[in-house]
Symmetry: D2
Subunit: 352 residues, 4 copies
């Protein structure tokens, strides 16, 4: 089946890749007999243990279908409609959810300028001036993307400073961790160190972009986040029935630390690629490469021909800035093929 | 993996079963290389053709993750927040969505009493009296479940009468078809005859309960239903990224009419079971068996011991009415095992 | 100004009347100099004392513009989007808010059948069966209309039974008291006896229908109801700026018990009218007259000519059942004029 | 009544003042007999004619209770939940509605930086880059505040340029005209020239801040804006019952051009005050004075003592920038009293 279809190699997004073979095997293995729906099955119990092993005993992991849903449901029990979540202006929450937080939570997303997706507590000064003023959406949560949409990581001290500051200001702390695993690989720390040990309230923990078929988890740490989650999830149309197949994906991903193997691989592959691009003077890599993303400024003329061979998105048209995302199945040889293609395009234009 | 887990045989729901082998094969087959996300892949194109083959050229099929989402997104472009959808009081839309239509669409669900889940246009008389009255949520759509939550089917003439009446009253017509395929099997008609040929505006077309891993489709027929669907879906957190894996499931399900094979199988198996239950005088099967559901009234004492062997839900505690759902993998031998178990329980209590 | 306009005498609604002269005087008297907006003015402080005098020290009275808003904001801090409020199927909350609770709170309104608008705890049995079931909107509040939309009153023992039952079931208790004053007049008890002493959580306390220019109050009793009210009100677009003019209306209405004078007057006038209608054999008054409403079954032919003289609404077309509402400015002579008109119409048809 | 209460003179807001005597007279005059509710009364008809006289025949004026409601209901029929409204970052819509647009419409408010509240089409370039991208809230409307929250006016050519540009980009155009009358006074043009003649789709037309007791109007020009307005208004809890009293206010305000008299008076009084402040070297008036607002930078030490005599808000604490709003009842003598008070405070600090 599908033998005739062509499947390319893409830099477009880490969701252009398919499913990691071990994860797909787990889905197949879970396909036996009947099981209770809605998370009451045996596979879900095994997966829950894996989450506790990696994030500590206080975590409650709940599945949803998309990253947008993970972000929105991270807010739903914690942010009331008259409150606001504060995020970087580059945040997925602000730029790429088509207003789902506003629609489902009814709240405001307040943004803070940022060059590389990171924000600092000092930037929020004016946001907190109108506390108690009924005319103004009341800030209630800070959402940090780790690594950011621009591929850089908050350090552990930075995260700790955020927690300390948000606690002092009576704000909740959320981490949008669609690629949180890559931050753990880059910072060489455990997932727990990045979350439970910091004291975050709730985390969007990505799966699909890291090799799963299609599953995300919301990691609930604070009691308030846990209190009504299952009802909000159902009302958000995110309650899966054959949950064992979502659980199986996460089980295979977490068990035996496949997540770390993949995260190290993509981060290292992205850094290797950046090193090789450094040898091409016409190309500048913007931002530090601390995850699986490269933001690459190319000569304008190269973009078209290169996209025909390896699809990618132009992030900023005016700056000829392109985003290249490395998927779990990207190999050293793929890097070589890509660099070769760049050199060919370069030659082509040099000749003219 | 998961070799040690126990998987029972369940009558609890048709989502207690796993994935049909041919459908899982398609998922595995689609796992090659990279593909565009969000439905722009080649598998999605193939699946789209299958939908057009079965539902006619006017159909636009869009995937979502759950039946709740299919129902809510069937409303979102067609029903405004000050309007209402009318449904049977037994409708999933009213009883089992945890208020998702109210939350996401902002509209009212108006209900009409029903014994077997079917409703008739005559029942809506008073609902339409206040047309134009700004104090009253304005009826805009009728939603019929086919087959109903009680397992019976609207006939084709009944559906045609509904379309004629709703058109006359300027109402849209939605079909909640979580198990629409079973109605096609029972009525021995095409899927197109049940939908496009009737002139329905939008259909929730079930997958997960019929053997898929996890996917539902919204079938958009009228231009208004199509107009903004993709934006509402994204905002409803229902846009899958690795869409090829949802499309692969539907492709395998529709291609070579696997859907019909499964639908005939479960409907016939349910009817066979009903016939064998007729021989047990203590048992009454309520409602005609026109799908894969049996509503079975049991002696109260039998319920406990029987549920230990084959899990099922008690639909109405006071009436000892139980719901038995037949999944795609239920075999004639499973019927035999079940009837044997009933006879054993019966003996056990007779002896006392 | 407006000297040439014709203003009729209407039975259509108690909001067809204007403003009680003493209340309008208070508005005029409050029009001096400048005052802080949003309830921080001196008139608001005086009115707050009146509310405490009549409802006890635990009350916090907050103004809104409409009865719909009072009902919706009674829910907003107490009922989450995945929860439900239970009301009579005749309730204004269900029939006459154009879906405002669904839109603004996102919750479900669950209805219970009723002949005269009153409901009994026994009717809620099946509504509470699915507690904890994530697929089902969770009942959280019971809303009683006092007097009901059909003009009858819950007795104090009935109210106490409701409070006891809702407390046992962990439900909040709301009273829609658009005409609560009339219940106090009919039951000959204080406003406090009907609310704080019962232990209700929140009350919609009507003003406009009882002689105010345009103002309603939400009476907050339980701490949770008070907690975030001002933010929900602002977000619900119900925060008045020149609040002194709303406060002045309520001050004049409560001070020196003008409310009671009006309530006794309209209730007695309605009962007097019912007594006089009893002498006309073709007319039946349905429901006990325990407020300012009469539900009157008339010969079909009389309706047209009578409506031309005194406007009213036909409540149920098939039963020729009409609703007559008595406003604060309806006099004994108006009753006489109305009865004379009825007799004239009667003669007119008798002759034919 | 209220004889003992103290009412100060305030610069805090133009809603700290009371009701213009002629407008209050109209309210009193409308208090005769009974009238149909919900806008079907005779006073409403007279007021509707006044709106048509001033804004042209295409206008449909509908009343709401607050400026927040006027803004939100200006959006509700025109902006879908997945769409966005673009406004200045200083806009009331963004800063002072406590998230009401997000809650009620479900849409996103996108902001554009601005120094004096005015924005230019060129600033929207990047907002429109993602048209058709389902991940991004789709811009649908531009909202301009006229005069801006900083008290400056868009010129007629600027407005025409906005209309031309929005039409080309398929965007709707809204004007938040809480003080639109002042712009007409400053620009010396008709209200029609500022709205219908420009071709705006919908206008929030303020009343309360300009001398009304409490009423705002939404002016609907485009057919889509009119289509479902009454239902959205009711669901937004903004349908007044005794509408004649809102209509009477607007009738008195528009009839015989009282609006223009007031608008000229407050704008001129503000400009006169600015001229007198220019003589005090320690004071800088920021922004041109083109409405009834002055943004005044004061020596920090003066603020406290001055606020005790004339209440006002400090707009920007760090810059000692204060906002002074001139109400309809502010007289030349009040200016003199204020300037005298400033001089006294100045002397007081000079002596030290």
């Amino acid at each position: 089946m599908f033998e005739d279809l062509e499947f390319a190699t893409s830099l477009g997004s880490d969701n252009h890749s398919g499913v990691h073979p071990k994860i797909l095997q787990a889905v197949v293995a879970a396909n036996r007999g009947h099981a209770h729906a809605y998370g009451l099955d045996e596979v879900s119990k095994l997966a829950a243990l894996e989450f506790k092993r990696l994030f500590g005993d206080t975590v409650e992991a709940q599945y949803v279908f998309t990253g947008t849903a993970a972000n929105v449901l991270s807010l739903s029990g914690l942010v009331k409609s008259f409150e606001a979540v504060i995020a970087s202006e580059a945040a997925h929450l602000q730029q790429d959810e088509c207003g789902a937080p506003e629609k489902f939570v009814g709240c405001k997303v307040m943004t803070v300028p940022s060059r590389d997706g990171r924000i600092r507590p000092e930037q929020l000064h004016t946001r907190l001036q109108r506390q108690g003023d009924q005319h103004f959406s009341q800030p209630r949560m800070v959402s940090l993307t780790q690594p950011t949409e621009l591929g850089v990581c908050y350090t552990l001290p930075e995260l700790r400073a955020w927690r300390e500051w948000t606690t002092r200001k009576n704000l909740m702390l959320h981490i949008d961790g669609a690629r949180l695993v890559n931050a753990a690989a880059f910072l060489n720390c455990s997932l727990r160190a990045l979350t439970a040990d910091i004291g975050v309230d709730v985390v969007s923990f990505g799966g699909t972009k890291n090799g799963l078929l299609g599953a995300e988890a919301v990691l609930l740490f604070s009691p308030l986040a846990k209190a009504h989650f299952k009802f909000y999830r159902k009302q958000a149309m995110q309650l899966s029935s054959k949950t064992r197949f979502l659980a199986a994906q996460f089980y295979a991903y977490l068990h035996q630390d496949l997540w770390l193997e993949i995260a190290r691989h993509v981060t290292k592959t992205a850094q290797d690629l950046a090193a090789r691009l450094a040898e091409i003077p016409e190309i500048q890599v913007q931002h530090a490469v601390e995850s699986n993303a490269l933001f690459v400024r190319l000569p304008k003329a190269w973009i078209g021909p290169l996209r025909e061979r390896f699809f990618f998105y132009v992030w900023d048209v005016e700056q000829n800035l392109c985003r290249w995302m490395i998927s779990f199945d990207w190999q050293p040889e793929t890097n070589t093929r890509l660099v070769d293609a760049i050199r060919e395009v370069r030659e082509c234009f040099r000749e003219k």
